[in-house]
């Protein structure tokens, strides 16, 4: 997994609540069997004026000039600012893949949907929960100042504003550790293979019907 230590970048504001994963990456792009290449279709229905097709060349499509990511001032953004319940709906990991592929490294919002929140960590993308009032203020500042940038310091668990103000956020120790080191979570879990085998042995004795297994 990609390491995450410190990121400084332009902030792109997505100013609506309940952004769902269908919106982040519409279903027709879920037909891919790869993990990459979703960036050009991030927010497809909002970003382009026509209907997106999985194999179309996006550089030739009519763009919606009103959409944030199409405005020159947010070009190259790597930090997304969002409203409450971001990432709700479908469990598709294609949503963080698309954000990552586009170049986002962190998403800041007052709250996230559980599955999306989880999926981010598996992909080196950092979801940051800040107080709703702080998020409101960040929106104001982003709108007010062209090229507004933030720094995210994962080690110190701080979001740092251009004027040096620091906002603290929480992150699970284990997840922080995995992100900082870019660790493969499966590898970490397999270090506990004996504990898993011991659990299975004990459980088989207690509740053997759980292990009947699927046969064709």
């Amino acid at each position: 997994m990609k390491k995450f230590t410190q990121v400084t970048g332009v902030v792109a504001p997505i100013d609506r609540a309940n952004v769902d994963t269908d919106m982040i990456i519409p279903k027709q792009f879920l037909k891919s069997i790869k993990r990459s290449g979703f960036g050009p279709n991030l927010f497809d229905e909002l970003r382009y004026l026509d209907e997106g097709q999985p194999d179309a060349d996006c550089s030739k499509r009519p763009i919606n000039p009103d959409f944030v990511l199409n405005q020159p001032r947010y070009k190259g953004a790597s930090i997304m600012l969002a409203r409450r319940n971001f990432g709700c709906g479908s469990s598709r990991e294609h949503a963080p893949w698309a954000l990552d592929d586009y170049g986002f490294r962190a998403v800041i919002a007052p709250s996230f949907a559980d599955i999306f929140f989880n999926n981010c960590f598996k992909n080196g993308l950092l979801p940051i929960v800040l107080d709703e009032k702080e998020v409101d203020k960040l929106f104001e500042e982003t709108f007010a100042e062209e090229g507004y940038q933030l720094t995210v310091d994962l080690e110190r668990k701080k979001v740092i504003k251009p004027d040096g103000t620091e906002l603290s956020f929480e992150v699970d120790e284990f997840r922080q550790h995995c992100l900082l080191k870019g660790l493969d979570e499966i590898g970490v879990t397999l270090e506990d293979r004996e504990a898993i085998a011991a659990y299975e042995a004990r459980r088989k004795a207690e509740a053997p019907w759980m292990f009947l297994g699927v046969q064709s």
Binding site: N18, K34, S91, A207, L212, Q215
Partner: protein, 471 residues
């Protein structure tokens, strides 16, 4: 010490190892796989040279991409080449790793969340995952079931475990009885209307109360299915006689002596009477009327006899903005009566409402009637090949066809329109599925979530009607 909730019990019995930071390694008893969220997981395994930890804990089937029209040509007959590759990839991966798959032409094929319970692959007390958020469906069997992302699918394949943090406990109690014509779908939509789409975030949501106890297993699955639409990854209902009756005799259910032992253990799968929940929400079953969503989020819902809300009366700026945006997308006027909404298409299906009971309810409404002239298409898509077979034995297919509805092959179909079944731009659809997000059923399509009986009534009248007036 206070007693345990059902969720506490399921959690405790699956902890492999507690970690210092509050997370734990949780054992997973069953994983369901489908073609959309698994290819990258298998690819990851291959790249790392890993093998599945326990092959027989997995069951796979293609559902999202499969055509629902005549499909005897099998995978090769899927017209969209990208869909075809995805279904083929699932076949190849299952073959390579030795995972049992109900392929497209197998009559046991269907929507993952329909076939799990149908086969007895979903058992009380299990932990069940699938790369699909509606895995919450299986919670109807007092199983801890939730959706996961593709990285976690790979993690479960490789380790049979997941790293999890314990959720909080939420109890939703629906007291009293439902009125006639009001179904499980209306109950869960009403609940979401009350607590909102983020109301259950961070919680395992247990449904209890007389109205829930009175529901069939199908109804309970409908309720748990949409727990995720209320923000909760997992929904739960305690075990009772109905649960055990449903599970009995299924292909993968325990048999004979093992069955008796299992049943004895399952009887304890309920919250203790002195268990403490972090949050409790109570509703009165008798107050719930048939529900219709008018907006682009399941919480944008109203009783069939009320009207579309006015954004000017919203509680705050974000809500006002949300309502205005939704009305614009849906092409609706503030204050319009729900029963004045005209429909272009009707979809009866999806993992929320495609089981035999759902089809019976819809058939009872359309029987002897005809689809309205303004409805271009009304689809009935059974949840699995076995549901289809049963419905045909009961003659439901004939009732639908005579009324002018289309009777299709099983799959997800127009629930998310990954196959050829979709809405045209601006079309209104009465749908028994679970999501009314923008573009969910097709680019620019307008979805109204309803129960099967309400969808059937809408098909016949061409606009929404209170189904209670028909039965």
């Amino acid at each position: 010490m206070a007693g345990k909730t059902l969720y506490d019990k399921l959690w405790d019995s699956h902890v492999v190892k507690q970690r210092d930071d509050g997370s734990a390694l949780i054992y997973i008893d069953r994983q369901l796989l489908h073609e959309v969220t698994s290819p990258q997981a298998f690819e990851g395994l291959r790249l790392a040279g890993r093998k599945p930890w326990r092959v027989d804990a997995n069951l796979a089937t293609p559902d999202h991409n499969v055509p629902t029209t005549e499909r005897s040509a099998g995978v090769q007959g899927i017209e969209d080449p990208i869909s075809r590759i995805q279904v083929q990839t699932l076949d190849e991966n299952c073959e390579e790793f030795g995972i049992v798959e109900f392929k497209m032409l197998d009559k046991r094929q269907g929507i993952v969340h329909v076939i799990g319970p149908e086969q007895g692959a979903t058992l009380p007390g299990m932990t069940i995952v699938c790369g699909d958020s509606h895995t919450s469906t299986h919670g109807a069997f007092a199983a801890l079931a939730h959706g996961i992302g593709t990285s976690e699918v790979e993690h479960v394949l490789a380790t049979q475990c997941l790293v999890q943090k314990k959720m909080k406990n939420l109890l939703i109690k629906v007291n009293g009885q439902l009125s006639r014509g009001v179904t499980a779908k209306d109950v869960i939509l009403a609940i979401i209307g009350v607590i909102g789409t983020a109301g259950g975030t961070g919680y395992a949501m247990e449904f209890a109360g007389e109205a829930i106890e009175s529901l069939s297993m199908e109804g309970r699955m409908t309720i748990c299915n949409m727990a995720i639409e209320a923000g909760a990854r997992a929904g739960l209902v305690a075990v009772d006689d109905k649960t055990i009756e449903y599970v009995k005799g299924r292909p993968y259910s325990p048999k004979e002596e093992l069955w008796d032992k299992a049943v004895a253990a399952w009887r304890d799968l309920k919250s203790d009477s002195d268990a403490v929940f972090d949050k409790v929400v109570e509703l009165n079953g008798a107050d719930i009327e048939p529900q219709v969503t008018w907006g682009t989020s399941p919480e944008m819902v109203a009783g069939v006899n009320s009207s579309v809300p006015d954004p000017e009366k919203a509680e705050d700026a974000t809500a006002k903005e949300g309502i205005s945006r939704a009305l614009k997308y849906m092409g609706l006027q503030a204050g319009a009566a729900i029963t004045d909404i005209k429909l272009d298409r009707v979809f009866i299906g999806s993992c929320t409402n495609s089981r035999i009971e759902d089809l019976r309810e819809a058939a009872a409404v359309v029987k002897g009637r005809k689809v309205a002239a303004n409805v271009k298409q009304a689809l009935v898509v059974p949840g699995s090949g076995l549901v289809k077979e049963q419905a045909e034995q009961e003659g439901l297919d004939k009732i639908f066809i005579e009324a002018g509805l289309e009777w299709r092959e099983p799959g997800c179909s127009m629930c998310l329109a990954m196959n050829a079944d979709k809405l045209g731009q601006g079309e209104h659809c009465a749908s028994t599925s679970n999501r009314n997000f923008e573009g969910r059923q097709g680019f620019g399509g307008r979805t109204h979530l309803v129960s099967p009986a309400m969808a059937a009534a809408a098909a016949v009248f061409g606009h929404f009607v209170d189904v209670r007036e028909l039965i």
